[in-house]
Structures are given as structure tokens and as C-alpha cells.
Subunit: 332 residues, 2 copies
């Protein structure tokens, strides 16, 4: 395999998936597909951060329940979120009492979690692991932007952080979808500094990973039924298609973006699309994976994308680099 | 292997290590052992965060240089730091142009990075990987406590964040130290809320991982030349020894703590000891690993410890849970 990618000799299976989302996501185009829609933005908790933790715990438990009794017990957990020091994860998974590998890949985290899960299962380190992530509109706005009460205007290039959590049980066998390859991404920085246009910041990283993946595997976009990025949104999509074309790959009739699938920008005032760790995770669990399991799609390149910024780096005038991790998921 | 641990059938080797530290660390008991001592707290950069990134880049490059030309090129990078959204890492490793698995385990991060590095190498996913982490007194105080200019008084239970970065190249063969086992830790919360007494917050997690490890491997503390935690400090050490005794393990004549090794609390006014991701990483690189390589120690249990808090969780009245990851390193 090429210099950046992994081809799994004994592809691990995604035996179950769970998606728990908020009210707005439930009202969007994928609304009927999610496992659970939580109407209360606080999820009965005292803060947005605790609400996000509660979503993560619920998705984790649901995915393990859905895996059923025939699946070996989950031994390790790969999880992360957007908040400083991963507090949604630390407080969310504590009750599960599972060894935790804490991950940070911004909104690409579920890609990182799925790659490491597959590497762990094929490597024989565990018969079953859980890949998990979450985001919450309230906790993310508080972390990265303005207090909600301030009512700040959002430019059209801005995205809307998805409230929810997605969880996946990865094992040796079972189910109708398996992870056959992975291309971990590099940090890519084009020097862009606009945190309200994260799609543009992440598009070069998405291009780097997708083109690196196609180079490594010697494939064309047409070898995939879909190439699905995480949360580039409409602005980032245009840039990705242009950049990939310059690298010799025409993604136009293959590219989809979870951020553009999860909301209706006209009806829901979400501007460029959805974002957040949960955006690609719940779209995979509720929409992409079932299509693969039914055989409507035979092979998909799933490429969650992350914008690597903090309020500190942003306020100190640093650019917003991006990262994207690609996972090949196939029908079986 | 027991329910939480991994025993490596073909133990990956730590073929090289690098430690880059600040002035205060250079004046401490381990001062003469570090590869590089940087006198300028800003490392010639414009901010503490950029300074920390510069340390990380320098340690990474030095470890790869020290590995020498006979070692396969590093293919993947496992790295993380303490700052919100891992900005020290994102901006530190960008120029290396290596695929990045971003990790967060608070001050236990180098344990997480070494475990995943060993799993990746034995799993055949890469012939060489780099495990890396950093912390910086200035960026950590700004992130977690008070502006330095404020001159806040520090209680005696407080620790001092180590400025530095440690890096390790892990491969199939070479060198005189190898990773033979690992026990990833769980999030453990005893409900303590004092962010100025992180040793007490982390001691239960250290106990959980160490005792789980000894149970899983069917070993006693005497099967190790040393059991070395990350940054419990003097206060946390007392608690760990008591808790482990209740679990049936007497660690008294085996336990060391990197936080207590790196500073002289009397001379250097560091109170309970050193802390930060770099504390255990640079102590491993400069002090522990050379002892193992020379055969003075045949087998060590290295257990970096992390306190899982953010200013948000702390200010919202949440407790400070801990996590600890154990890595078995043996002379070969």
C-alpha cells in the first residue's frame, strides 16, 4: 500500500451504529432516519456540556444494544469531541467503565476513531471496540463563537454545529458493511484565517487526503459510489472540486457532503450546512451506512473533515489549518 | 490476556527518543540528561502556544535524526498536548507533513501515544511511527489557571507544568528497549473538585490502571524494577500507595513519579512536583529509557497520569476525573 494508506487484509465489520440528534436535526431532510430525536436541548442536564455528554452516553449504549448478544463485549473505546480538553467525552463515557483512547481531530474525529477501531480489531487487540463522537450547537457556540444570547449575525459561509452523537461497534464479523481501507490525513494549511468560513479552510485538507487515497490505491473517483466529506458545506465543496480537478481527479458526480445532507439551508437557515463532530457521525449512522448495508452503494469513501482552530489560536492571528481522514466502507 | 490489557507477541522497539526542555527543567535534578535545554521561554516565537509548537517540532525532528539512516521512515504520528483543540500539536507538526492521529489524554498523552504506536507497528500498519507530546508552563497557566502577571499564590498541593517536549520513534527492531505490554486506562472519578490538587484527583485512576494491569498479567509489583507514574506528585503518591495497598498490592519500594524526579521542590519552589504532558515524556526519554537500555532496569511499568478537566467543567462545578495509561517497557 502507498505511503499514506492502509488496506485491511481482514476487513473489520461495522456491526451496529446508533444516532441520537437534537430537534433541529430531526426536522431536517434525514429526520426520519435517526434512531432518537431529543427535543430538549439541555437533555435534562444543567449545562450544554453535560447535555452533550448525555447524548454521547446514550448513543454509546444504544450502539452496544443494537449490536446484540451475539457480538463480543466492547473492550476499548475511541472517542472525542470539540470541547477544550474533551470534556463532553470524559464525562460522557465515565459510566461505561471502558478503557478510553481520547481523540481529537476536530470535526474529523469519527474518521480517526473508525480507522483506529479497525486497526485495533484487525490487529487482534480486541474483538469489539466502540467508535464514538459528539457535538452540540450550544456548547460549540460557547466554545468557539459568541454567547447565544448575543444573537450575533452569521455570514452565509458559516455552518451550523450539529447537536448529536454517533456510535459504531466494530468487530471481526457480522453486519453488512466493512472497513476495507483507510487514509489518515495530514495537517494542511493554506493560510486562511476566517473561522466563519471553515469549509474553505478544510477543503485543501479534504483534497490532500482524497487525492492521496486515490493515488495510494490506484483508483479513480468512479471506483466509489460516493465520496462523502464531513462538513465542507456548499462553499467548501466548490473549492474541493476545483482543487481535486487540478490534481487530475474529477469528483463532481461522486461528491456528497454530510453538512449539506443533514439540513435544508433554505428552510432551516443553516447557511453553508451542518458541522461538528456529530455531523458526519450521525449522517454515517443514519443515512450512509444503511445504504451500504442494503447494497445500494457497494463502496463509499467516507472523509470526515476538521478545522484545527481554537479561540486562542484564532485570537492570536493564526491561520485555520484543516485535516481529513478517509475510511473506505464496503457492502459485504 | 485479561480484560483490559494487551500483551505484544512481537514487541515493538523504541529505537530512539528525544527530550527538549526549558530552563527550569534544565536546572533540576535531571538537567544534565536532557538532549536540549532551551533558555528562551518564548523559543523565539510570538506566543507561548507557538513556543510550545516549536518545542514539539524540535523534539520530533531530533528523535527522527537520532533514529538514524537504518530505520525506516516514520509513516504516522501520534501526538497531543494540553491546550484546547490541541493547537500546540496542530501547528507544531504541520511542517512534518506526516499523517496525524491527534490524541488527548491530558498529562497521560504520551502513554496513549506509545500504546497506539506499538499497536500500529505490531499490527503491520507502519514500520516506524512517532509518539510525541508537549507542554509549556506559560501556555498551561494561561489555559487552566491565572495570567502569570497576576502572581497568584499556589497551594502546596499544586504542581508545576513542565516546559518541554518528548518524542519517540517506535519500530519493529533496533535499540535496547521494547514495549511488551499495555493497559489502557478508564476514566475514574472520586468526585474531587480541587484543580490545585491534581495528584489527589489522578491517584485513583493510577491505582485502577496499575492494579488492573497486575491482575491481567498475573504479576506482582516486584516483577518490575520500577512502577513509574506521570505526575501524581508527593500528595498523589501517598494516596496511590494507600489505595493500591487496599487492592492487595504494595507499591512502596517500587513506586517512582516523574513529577517528583524532574524538580527539586525545596530548591525550585515547585511544591508537589512537575506536571504536564511533557513531564512524563521527557523523564522517560532522558532518565527512564537510558536506564532500561543500559540494563540497570530490566522491566518498568510506565504509567502517565492525566487529570480530565477544563476551565469550563471546573467553573461549572464538575469534579476532576483522572485517567492513566500503563506501558510495559523492557530491556532487550
Amino acid at each position: 500500500m502507498g505511503k499514506q494508506s492502509i488496506q485491511f487484509r481482514e476487513p473489520p465489520h461495522i456491526v451496529s451504529a446508533a444516532s441520537v440528534v437534537g430537534k433541529k436535526e430531526g426536522e431536517g431532510p434525514l429526520g426520519s432516519l435517526f434512531d432518537e430525536i431529543e427535543e430538549d436541548p439541555m437533555v435534562g442536564q444543567a449545562s450544554w456540556e453535560e447535555a452533550e455528554s448525555a447524548l454521547q452516553k446514550r448513543a454509546a449504549k444504544l450502539a452496544m444494544e443494537k449490536a446484540g448478544p451475539g457480538v463480543p463485549p466492547v473492550r476499548y473505546l475511541f472517542s472525542g469531541d470539540l470541547l477544550g480538553q474533551l470534556i463532553a467525552t470524559s464525562f460522557g463515557v465515565m459510566d461505561l467503565k471502558l478503557p478510553l483512547f481520547g481523540l481529537y481531530g476536530a470535526c474529523s474525529t469519527i474518521g480517526e476513531a473508525l480507522m483506529l477501531s479497525a486497526m485495533t480489531v484487525q490487529g487482534g487487540y480486541s474483538d469489539a471496540v466502540l467508535a464514538l463522537t459528539s457535538s452540540h450547537f450550544g456548547s460549540a457556540e460557547k466554545q468557539f463563537r459568541y454567547p447565544l444570547e448575543y444573537g450575533g449575525q452569521r455570514p452565509l459561509s458559516a455552518t451550523w454545529t450539529v447537536t448529536g452523537s454517533g456510535a459504531f461497534v466494530v468487530t471481526h464479523t457480522g453486519g453488512k458493511a466493512r472497513i476495507t481501507g483507510a487514509t489518515p490525513g495530514r495537517v494542511v494549511d493554506y493560510g486562511l484565517k476566517d473561522s466563519m468560513n471553515m469549509g474553505a479552510c478544510m477543503a485543501p485538507a479534504a483534497c490532500d487526503t482524497i487525492c492521496g487515497h486515490l493515488d495510494d490505491f490506484g483508483r479513480q473517483p468512479s471506483d466509489y459510489d460516493a465520496v462523502i466529506t464531513g462538513d465542507l458545506g456548499s462553499v467548501g465543496q466548490t473549492i474541493l472540486l476545483e482543487l481535486a480537478k487540478k490534481r487530475g481527479y474529477d469528483l463532481k458526480d461522486r461528491h456528497l457532503d454530510c453538512g449539506m445532507l443533514i439540513f435544508d439551508p433554505e428552510e432551516q437557515d443553516t447557511h453553508a450546512g451542518g458541522s461538528g463532530c456529530a455531523c458526519s457521525a450521525v449522517t454515517l449512522a443514519a443515512h450512509i451506512l444503511p445504504k451500504i448495508e442494503r447494497g445500494e452503494w457497494r463502496r463509499v469513501l467516507f472523509v470526515p473533515t476538521g478545522a484545527l482552530l481554537s479561540t486562542v489560536s484564532y485570537n492570536e492571528g493564526q491561520s485555520v489549518p484543516g485535516i481529513a481522514h478517509a475510511v473506505v466502507i464496503e457492502h459485504c
